[in-house]
Symmetry: C2
Subunit: 431 residues, 2 copies
Amino acid sequence: MSAAVALSPEEIHDAVFAMGKKARMAAHALAVLSTDQKNAILRAMAAELRVQSAEILTENAKDLAAGEASGLTKAMLDRLLLDETRLEAVASGVEQVSKLDDPVGDILDERTRPNGIRIQQIRVPIGVIGIIYESRPNVTSDAAVLCLKSGNATILRGGSEAIYSNRAIAAALQAGGEKAELPQNSIQLIPFTNRESVNEMASMDRYLDLIIPRGGKGLIETVVSLARMPVIKHYDGICHVFVDRAADLKMAVEIAVDSKTQKPSVCNALETLLVHESVAKEFLPLVAEGLAARKVEMRGCEKTCAILGDQASGAREEDWGAEYLDYILAIKVVASLEEAVLHINEHGSQHTDCIVTTEEGAAERFLCEVDSACVHHNVSTRFSDGEEFGFGAEIGISTDKLHARGPMALRELTSYQYRVRGEGQLKAPPG
Amino acid sequence: MSAAVALSPEEIHDAVFAMGKKARMAAHALAVLSTDQKNAILRAMAAELRVQSAEILTENAKDLAAGEASGLTKAMLDRLLLDETRLEAVASGVEQVSKLDDPVGDILDERTRPNGIRIQQIRVPIGVIGIIYESRPNVTSDAAVLCLKSGNATILRGGSEAIYSNRAIAAALQAGGEKAELPQNSIQLIPFTNRESVNEMASMDRYLDLIIPRGGKGLIETVVSLARMPVIKHYDGICHVFVDRAADLKMAVEIAVDSKTQKPSVCNALETLLVHESVAKEFLPLVAEGLAARKVEMRGCEKTCAILGDQASGAREEDWGAEYLDYILAIKVVASLEEAVLHINEHGSQHTDCIVTTEEGAAERFLCEVDSACVHHNVSTRFSDGEEFGFGAEIGISTDKLHARGPMALRELTSYQYRVRGEGQLKAPPG
């Protein structure tokens, strides 16, 4: 690709580290901006995206031409495509973020010690956040503005297929922001896409406080194995629905079908259905009818196949850990709630799992014992995301357990600081 | 050392991963224990430490003999030494933890969405925590019981110099706990100290949710570069006191002397003193008198040396980033609050920094603009620790910004989970 320019390893190192140093300076300036200032900056960014829309679309056309020449599929080209409508959606997304509550400055804890020292734990920005992504060019804007609203500088490293669009969008955001006094270098995009730039970012723990990789497993694996700083990532979404012996079977059919088919390509879609054996004979034909109507391929355990006959094929061991992201569903009959929990904790991805039951005790056990970011009782798995949770925005869904777990929004892009005030307290007072 | 037994790389891998798998099972069991159960376990552990004190001291004697044979210094041998008094302190420390509040189950956020879905964000244990340490054998107990109280399983990897003591203490904790129904394998110590065991732990992201390295820079560097899971660490403590132009100079002298000399060997001791130029002529002779009385070597910038004459030697560039942990102090005269902040953000370690001033505006600027875990106004830097902050216990002080920053206690050993309850809500309701 044209964006992988001929740079020596030293030149790539120097370029990326120079951006890191500038980002650190920008982060110190960003940390002390008021909410009003940040919101004015966001509105100026949205305006600039509109002003520069012709230029952005021209650059986007270069990506599309290169993509066609290199044989990208129609679906991939569509992901890459920007037009007036999509660009307007990006700009109004930026305005939306200006309306969200600013988490910076929230007081998380406050205490006065017997010696009179007053301690405040207060939310502050993280600092500099690196985002490495492969997806659509709108991620450039979405990620940068969420980081900005939470007071962080960003270094963006997008994929080669969208480099022209990404450069144009990042430049418009920075230029627009500067009209409202955004500190220089608050939003920087690495202008080339050589693979080594990922390695350099991963090694730059002096300047990067956090890396968020967004993309395929290969990219995430690379970042995880190289990074010297914290990484927040989203691996698989292998989500389960467990139909308990005390389930309302009509509700269970609806939740299973909705979780599987409302949008099968996303991480919170259902992949394995677990059915309590005492309701399997009654429930499985009902759910199979609903699934067949949506053309879902069913792969069942032996007991499932015995009940469903030709409607299901036999599941293999690897089906229990599969993230199909497609109209395919693994189905297993289990002897108990306990077996369901064990199955989920062993084969799941700690993303989102649901129990359907009318029995409160069973629900509470499931919610407490399943070790996943989101555990649902009688709610479709498709609801586990930042917008549905009312966070107003989402930078991703974390399958990690440290710092941020589950849907990540502005709060998850902050750290905290202890501010300690006194009147000269000493550990060893004289005399 | 005798504890580095002859094991092949495969044997080490298999042994460590087998412990990881068992720890994961233990973690699921620990996560659902009630506070009362955990407290009973802790009391049983303390009792068993007392019952087994003779065995533990016998094992400790083996470490001391090996240490003498290998030429450890007297100070190092003293760090290794256990006796009745020290072991009693370990046991009563375990009892203290049983009296602390249990963070697990705390509701962090609660909301009901317009569609009726009820979302709870609730504290849960992290899971399995790996602790790699080089220090005294009491760390085995301190770290394990804080992890246990917060519902986590631990895999401990202590240094070779304390292996006999560590094994005896870990065995007593696990055995004592099991008398009160502690799940098997909740506390596991790697029974050998081959270097490869660190690498295996660092690669075991399937079973370890977090690694906390406690020890020298070399150990921390190794863990940071190898770890595939989050690491929470404590690098340097390069702490500053800034004496503002509006400082109460008597208070400033007391805070500088206390911060530097009350215990110079610890991470929150003062290393660089910054002095506003408008008070330097008056202040420096006063503080030099106090420091000289405690035999502190002073290394000053040119302006400092011009004022202090023979009392100070000239500081070199590396003094501004030095963590002396000794009776040495770097001193620099700065032209403004702004220069002080810039100096700290560039040369400090984001640990603890203090401003002495009577001017509220200057104090607020310093507290907001210095990017450190703990920022103090008129309080000795020596107060930045978990006990002084009223956390009741401390597993370390984090110089990271993600998940935990500054003093880390029980809350920082937890994650959270979203529990979502509804009545069959669907993303795409039928009809």
